[in-house]
């Protein structure tokens, strides 16, 4: 088991050293100045908000889909599962371009509806949704698959209809998987750059702001925003994991 510890420790170092190095490079006064910068604050808030909207939308649409994928056997199910997984595999800039072709100003959707999500908060949420929804759907699907179908049959035998069975038995039994998937999706959304930058350079999310400052002013100016985003993300995710742990 000693070898396990060595490999495990090496992995933690690979993740922690660059992060620690970055944290130590930025001094506290610089960090508080950045935190007071309204542009930075609004970029971070926008990032968190857009990712939250994307996650909420995915909860509403993704959970029923996950249930269908877990419970029903139908022709084309594998293809559907492949489509859901696709955003994880393709480069996110490609995802952004794909979204632009459907939701952009030259698109059929725009010509018909006059609505464009390019350069809007909705566009940012859409990009985040596109690239991160597989995490939630797959977590919920695995959760539903792990729940013995006989629980649902028992509820049905006791007189519950399909909806009642879903909301009173199936859903509560997979809440841990759904919470876990939501945390993953939220995190993936917050970190998204490629798809977001193509669909909405402005308003600026934190990852886009980090890129812009790095591009225009160099590493020194990009670091404080990066550190601030990491610290806020850390607080958010540790809190969510604690909630998850408590429910367990």
């Amino acid at each position: 088991m000693g070898v396990f510890s060595v490999f495990g420790f090496a992995l933690v170092l690979l993740i922690a050293v660059p992060l620690l190095r970055m944290l130590l490079t930025v001094d506290a006064s610089e960090l508080s100045r950045t935190a007071a910068d309204s542009e930075v604050r609004s970029a971070i808030m926008l990032t968190l908000r857009a990712s939250l909207w994307a996650t909420l939308a995915a909860l509403v649409m993704g959970i029923p889909l996950a249930w269908i994928l877990a419970r029903r056997n139908f022709p084309g199910r594998r293809v559907l599962e492949g489509i859901i997984d696709l955003p994880v595999i393709i480069p996110h800039t490609a995802a952004g371009i794909a979204l632009l072709s459907v939701w952009g100003r030259q698109s059929f959707f725009h010509r018909v509806s006059g609505i464009s999500v390019v350069g809007t908060e909705a566009g940012i949420s859409l990009a985040m949704f596109f690239v991160s929804v597989p995490f939630l759907v797959n977590a919920a699907k695995s959760g539903f698959r792990m729940v013995d179908e006989r629980y649902e049959k028992t509820a049905r035998s006791l007189g519950a209809g399909p909806w009642k069975t879903f909301f009173s038995v199936s859903l509560p039994m997979v809440r841990k998987s759904i919470l876990s998937g939501s945390i993953m999706m939220l995190g993936r959304g917050i970190s998204e750059f490629g798809a977001v930058v193509i669909l909405a350079y402005h308003p600026m999310t934190a990852p886009v702001m980090i890129f812009e400052r790095f591009q225009n002013f160099g590493l020194k100016y990009a670091l404080p925003v990066t550190v601030l985003l990491i610290l806020i993300s850390l607080v958010v995710f540790i809190s969510l994991r604690l909630v998850e742990e408590r429910r367990r």
């Binding site: 028992t154 509820a155 035998s157 006791l158 007189g159 519950a160 009173s168 509560p172 809440r175």
Partner: protein
């Protein structure tokens, strides 16, 4: 009460075929058969939890039906009270009545002290009583039980059988229970249906199935330890070095099934009306709860049941020569 006609259901590698079955109102009906025979699927079809590919299931009112799975399927995110109350809440029954019914059942089934417990912390017997209470709370006219005693030890199994008998007479409901244990079927059932490989093989009162098995498979499942086959000529079948007289005159091919306890073992030929006697040598003595099973080599190996008292009195040892005696009426013959 329940009538199944020509019911067929295909599940890929397994199928239920041509099920014709009728369960009467108020009956304690037991579905029996080895694992993988399709008993649970048949129960789900009765409950309307699965649909037949063809055929009809009539007479099941799903508003008055309770279903208990082998693993009880207690909802792990609800405590004991909420599990029992589930069917009542679904029916939007008044809270006061729910409380009264749950407490009444909990008292009847010795669960009062467990009502606020997390169901995951209950013992097997407690879980089972909660599952029974949950199913009975809706006052079903039909209770379907899928091997409710399979996961229990012998003492708890016997206690549960007693409880089910009591609840059956108390509620007057129709009980349909699945089991693979024929002793349990004998102790509970008004009627038994025996299933094998997705087919109903034989249906009838337990005594009839026990004493008149319809086929070799049924006899085997019902615990007939000696099953021989061959032609029957002039009412006799050759078994090892024994021409046994059987209750059949002529057949090209027939089976003769004999229960271990129907063969008598003695040191000398018994003065009795029994027609069949043969000499053999004891090859093994294996103890069991009733006494012992003695293997006797009479050209073919015969299994003989013997009580502990007889075993002690006769002082039977491996290698002893003994006489086996068998009445013709104790032999079951069938040609398939």
């Amino acid at each position: 009460m329940i009538r199944m006609q020509g019911v067929t259901r295909n599940l890929g590698g397994f199928s239920l075929q041509d099920i014709d079955l009728c369960v009467e109102e108020g009956e304690f009906f037991v579905l029996m058969g080895p694992s993988g025979a399709g008993k649970t699927l048949l129960l789900e079809l009765m409950a309307g939890l699965a649909s037949p590919d063809s055929g009809r299931v009539n007479g099941v009112d799903d508003r008055a039906l309770g279903f208990i799975y082998q693993d009880y399927m207690l909802f792990p995110h609800m405590d004991v009270f909420k599990n029992i109350a589930y069917g009542l809440k679904v029916r939007k029954i008044d809270k006061k009545e729910i409380r009264e019914r749950v407490h009444g059942l909990a008292e009847e089934l010795h669960l009062l002290h467990l009502l606020r417990r997390d169901v995951r912390t209950l013992s097997g017997g407690e879980k089972q009583r909660v599952a029974i209470a949950r199913a009975l709370a809706i006052r079903p006219r039909l209770l379907l039980l899928d091997e409710p005693t399979a996961a229990l030890d012998r003492a708890n199994r016997l206690r549960t059988q007693k409880l089910l008998r009591r609840l059956h007479s108390l509620t007057g409901a129709t009980f349909v229970q699945v089991t693979h244990d024929f002793e349990e079927a004998l102790s509970l059932a008004d009627r038994v249906a025996l299933m094998m490989d997705g087919r109903l093989i034989q249906t009838g009162p337990p005594d009839e199935i026990l004493t008149r098995p319809a086929s070799r498979e049924v006899a085997d499942f019902m615990g007939y330890r000696n099953i021989f086959s061959g032609p029957v000529r002039g009412g006799k079948m050759r078994v090892g070095n024994w021409d046994i007289q059987v209750p059949l005159q002529e057949s090209e091919f027939a089976y003769a099934a004999i229960r271990a306890e129907d063969i008598l073992v003695s040191r000398s030929v018994l003065d009795s009306s029994a027609r069949n006697h043969v000499k053999g040598r004891i090859s093994a003595v294996m103890g069991n709860s009733a006494g012992a099973e003695v293997l006797v080599d009479a050209g073919v190996e015969l299994v003989v049941g013997i009580t502990r008292t007889s075993l002690d009195e006769m002082g039977i040892r491996v290698g002893d020569e003994v006489i086996l005696t068998l009445k013709v009426s104790a032999i079951r013959c069938f040609e398939h």
